[in-house]
Symmetry: C2
Subunit: 140 residues, 2 copies
DNA sequence: GAACTATTATTGTATATACAAATGTTGTTA
DNA sequence: TAACAACATTTGTATATACAATAATAGTTC
């Protein structure tokens, strides 16, 4: 494997990842919410009406609990999530998305769908599968 | 194009990008240098003995000048780069890597080459080219 | 050449994140 | 049960980064 092509490829991967998250951040900016805050909301929403602990959120987001705590502090201040002691284990915290959070998230998702929309047809399903397969192979 | 596959793919891209930069950061940690600081050093070194301005470094790193300034502050404190007013245009700053910086960078590169080494043969040249082509196609 | 504009770097501020340390709760074991 | 270990969250601290504002120099135009 040529080193030159290898380094050029991983550079592309890193750059593209940044491009996507930076773009999402820009779309969210008018709503005064950050991309990590949005991801916490989405994670909570995917659980329907079940709470998640700080640790569980961190696992899903590949984030340290300490940092999840601070993101939740921000969301709490906006009334988008609730946090209360877990009754069965008082070390844990039950974090849930509030109805306001759910409504807000719907707005954000509409906006972001518009950003993703033109990308949806850049690659065929087969190409996407190849892309995913090759990236996974690189890490395996 | 299936939305499900699309979102799974971009998620993979973002995750893999983070995996690479986080791994590089870990390798650099024993040397007490951050990944962005390392990237500035590399950028300066690629210019041989020509200085670069703050803006030029920022362009290459896809970084804002304001943040490049602060990274250079750190490198200055370690004696790895020099910063002086550009004689022909006193708004600009001439940033250069010092001999110590160059030696240090060589050490870092050896260490990082060891990290990349096992990845070099995960994909064939052809697969790498396909990967790069598909990622580029997604953004185009 | 004076007034205005553009360029370049820096500083200020808010958010995110890595890592270490601290706090409080639960589980274990002597 | 008392002492200790493990777990879950939070707080502290340093770095990076986005964005806005500032400062200083250079270029432009009247």
């Amino acid at each position: 494997m040529s080193k030159k092509i290898y380094f050029s490829t991983i550079h592309q991967i890193i750059k593209t990842g940044h491009w996507i998250t930076d773009s999402v951040s820009s779309e969210l900016k008018p709503f005064d919410i950050s991309e990590p805050q949005y991801n916490v909301l989405r994670t909570l929403n995917s659980q329907q009406h079940q709470p998640l602990t700080v640790e569980q959120i961190g696992k899903q987001m590949i984030q340290r609990s300490s940092n999840v705590t601070r993101i939740i502090d921000k969301l709490l201040g906006k009334g988008l999530v609730s946090r209360k002691e877990c009754p069965s284990n008082r070390r844990k915290m039950d974090i849930m998305i509030t109805p306001e959070g759910r409504n807000f998230l719907r707005e954000l998702d509409v906006k972001l769908a518009q950003w993703h929309s033109p990308l949806l047809n850049k690659l065929t399903d087969e190409e996407l599968q190849t892309l995913t397969r090759l990236i996974r192979k690189l890490r395996k």
